[in-house]
């Protein structure tokens, strides 16, 4: 019953959001069927589109795993966007230095650098201040996220990572650190099987970590009940820092994978919003690593489908953000369901007693 509800609720919330979005679209004079049709065909209509959808979903899945770890540990890491960009920045920096290394070693170095950078960005300041002075991690991770994005922007806008004589951007990472595409078809959708493999490994690692190791058990205990965890002898302070480090590590990994697999350099903009969408992914997946795959693909499809929708039926791609926002809101309001059921039952008993 509980597991059934945990699947039905996110689906119900999504369906409700899609219906409201359809009404909005229809009110503005579009045909909702063609609009949603172009969205779906844009996401799944051809091999390249499916490849694009998977490519778009990989960073969401990997960041989402990190968010799931923090949620399961009772922490709200809202600043994954900054951790993602700090990880990306570190990976790119290592990517265009150390060119004498062999390709595979260089690649691993970039990925590890991204992971460590993301972990430290989340773990040091938000983690330590949460553990030792109780600063609320929602605020500190959010503030660190903005600082991280500003730092990355500084580095390529006049800072040491700017490529001279170009628009604000960093140099390209070395050819042998870029993930191979293997075939022409995969190249068109920028889908790298290496990135897919890393995402799958990450899902398995997080699942194993959370459900099959002592560390994961302790993290979840801290998340469920801090006081009980303390009485059980768990070092809550340590696990707070560890949880935020792990959470940031996956955000940083996603940044590194995106740089090595798709972008190949830092470009001005920094408005991916992966950190925020990944929170939705994790919420929809009930912080379950396997569910993160499905939710990540769903939002990846929404992204690529939205772009196609804008081209084909001239409906702005921002519609997908409207849907995302509504889904979050409805999922957050899940407690209304038992309340409504209770209210309905009370009313029925009231009616039957008044009739008698």
């Amino acid at each position: 019953m509980k597991s059934l509800r945990s699947i039905l609720l996110p689906m119900g919330a999504s369906v409700l959001a899609i219906i409201i979005g359809g009404i909005l679209v229809a009110a503005l004079g579009y045909n909702p069927v063609t609009v949603y049709g172009s969205l779906i065909s844009g996401a799944f209509g051809s091999g390249i589109n499916i490849g694009n959808t998977i490519t778009a979903s990989l960073p969401l899945i990997i960041v989402g795993l990190g968010i799931a770890i923090s949620f399961q540990s009772g922490l709200f890491n809202i600043g994954a966007d900054g951790q993602y960009w700090i990880g990306a920045t570190a990976a790119v920096w290592f990517g265009y230095h150390f060119n004498s290394l062999p390709g595979w070693l260089h690649m691993i170095l970039c990925i590890v650098a991204g992971m460590i950078a993301g972990a430290l960005w989340a773990g040091i300041i938000p983690g330590l201040t949460k553990a030792y002075v109780g600063s609320h991690e929602v605020i500190t991770t959010m503030m660190m996220s903005y600082i991280g994005i500003l730092l990355a922007r500084y580095l390529i806008e006049g800072g040491p990572m700017q490529q001279k004589g170009f628009n604000p951007q960093s140099p390209e990472i070395a050819q042998n650190t870029q993930f191979p595409y293997f075939t022409q078809g995969l190249m068109q959708s920028q889908l790298s099987l290496v990135a897919v493999a890393i995402a799958i490994i990450a899902v398995i690692v997080v699942w194993f970590l959370l459900y099959k190791t002592t560390l994961g058990y302790q993290l979840r205990t801290v998340g469920l009940n801090q006081r009980a965890a303390r009485y059980a002898g768990i070092n809550v302070k340590l696990f707070t820092v560890v949880a935020l480090c792990l959470s940031g590590m996956f955000a940083g990994l996603a940044g590194a994978v995106q740089m090595l697999g798709v972008d190949h350099r830092l470009l001005d903009g920094f408005s991916s919003n992966y950190g925020y969408t990944a929170i939705v992914v994790s919420l929809l997946a009930r912080n379950n690593p396997i569910g993160v795959i499905i939710a990540g693909l769903f939002f990846g499809a929404l992204t690529t489908g939205g772009q196609n929708m804008q081209m084909v039926s001239n409906v702005p791609a921002a519609l997908t953000d409207v849907l995302t926002g509504l889904i979050i809101f409805f999922v957050a309001c899940e407690r209304i369901i038992p309340q409504v059921i209770g209210w309905y039952r009370r009313r029925r008993t009231l009616k039957s007693t008044s009739a008698a």
């Binding site: 909005l24 503005l28 709200f76 809202i78 300041i125 201040t129 002075v133 600063s135 609320h136 929602v138 605020i139 500190t140 959010m142 503030m143 660190m144 903005y146 600082i147 500003l150 730092l151 922007r153 500084y154 806008e157 006049g158 800072g159 925020y276 929170i279 939705v280 919420l283 409906v315 702005p316 921002a318 519609l319 997908t320 953000d321 409207v322 849907l323 995302t324 926002g325 509504l326 889904i327 979050i328 809101f329 999922v331 957050a332 309001c333 899940e334 407690r335 209304i336 309340q339």
Partner: protein, 306 residues
């Protein structure tokens, strides 16, 4: 020396408005015990509908009214989720922020096309207070500022007085500190919280409208550019008081104004823009003053359970 130039102080004051207004709004919400991170989204809603209705009705004042109504309604949705449903307030706020960014961009593109809002949109007047603008130096700061700058100054003082020197203000604070005790004394916790959250929506929408029809007369996608989050920082740095929020907004506004001035001199504005966020972390860590949130901030109150 740049600090002796009154222009930078005029710019500071102008930059502080869209931070101080939502920060004070957030103060009202969090003082009653509801975390509001949706200020960014509500500002966007306010900014967009201010422009849309200014253009449609031909009156910037009616546009401002529409902004307040739409902002209040958005805040009411947050209040309903946070108070009636006891949903996670951070998640709700994030949902509203994403929804608002999407909705305003979507409506901008569908209603006004991809070229932006019409340039004929009316804006709120800029005024100089007679007498004040004759004072040397200070006069320059207050010369030709948007009328909302003066409204903000009045609102700062009224808000502080309201929160700390009226009965309703005391009730709001008691609901945020210890809702059960307030309930026992016959205060309707839910109603006070609805009031606080909707008030925060009105202030945030006013801040958004300042950007779109106070400074400019148009709306661009995501034009608040994270100001709602800096306002959140200002609220914390100002220790959840209207005067403190205003002071923090001035400091943050100054760092923005300084960034613009120093940009020509080779100092990166990106680094200067970090100041508000860094100060907030320091304040939360207890290194710059001690920022302590209201005790029941973010905790839903269910009168039936207790």
């Amino acid at each position: 020396m740049i600090f002796s130039d009154p222009e930078i102080w005029a710019a500071t004051l102008s930059m502080a408005v869209p931070l101080a207004l939502p920060a004070i709004g957030g103060t009202f919400s969090e003082r009653t015990g509801v975390v509001n991170i949706a200020m960014e989204g509500i500002m966007l809603i306010g900014a967009f509908f201010a422009v849309a209705f200014s253009y449609w009705t031909g009156s910037a004042w009616l546009g401002l009214l529409a902004a307040l109504i739409c902002g209040g309604l958005t805040a009411a949705a947050l209040a309903w989720g946070a108070i009636r449903v006891s949903a996670d307030q951070t998640v709700l706020g994030m949902g509203i922020n994403i929804f608002a960014a999407g909705l305003t961009t979507f409506l901008l593109n569908t209603l006004f096309g991809f070229n932006g809002t019409p340039i004929s949109t009316p804006k709120l007047p800029n005024i100089s207070i007679p007498g004040l603008d004759n004072i040397p130096y200070i006069g320059v700061i207050f010369q030709n500022q948007s009328i909302l700058v003066y409204i903000m100054i009045v609102l700062v003082i009224v808000s502080h007085w309201f929160l700390f020197h009226t009965r309703l203000g005391l009730r709001m604070r008691s609901v945020g500190e210890h809702p059960l005790a307030a309930d026992t004394l016959g205060i309707n916790v839910w109603r006070i919280r609805y009031f606080g959250v909707i008030l925060s929506g009105l202030f945030s929408a006013l801040g958004g409208a300042y950007l779109s029809i106070g400074v400019l007369n148009g709306f661009t996608a995501n034009m608040t550019n994270g100001r709602g989050y800096i306002a959140l920082a200002a609220m914390i740095f100002g220790k959840w008081t209207p005067l403190g929020s205003f002071g923090a907004a001035l400091i943050f506004g100054f760092s923005t104004a300084l960034g613009i001035v120093l940009q020509g001199q080779g100092i990166s504005s990106n680094l200067l823009q970090m100041i508000p966020y860094a100060l907030t972390i320091l304040a939360l860590a207890g290194l710059v003053g001690r920022a302590v949130a209201p005790a029941a901030d973010g905790i839903p109150y269910d009168p039936r359970r207790s």
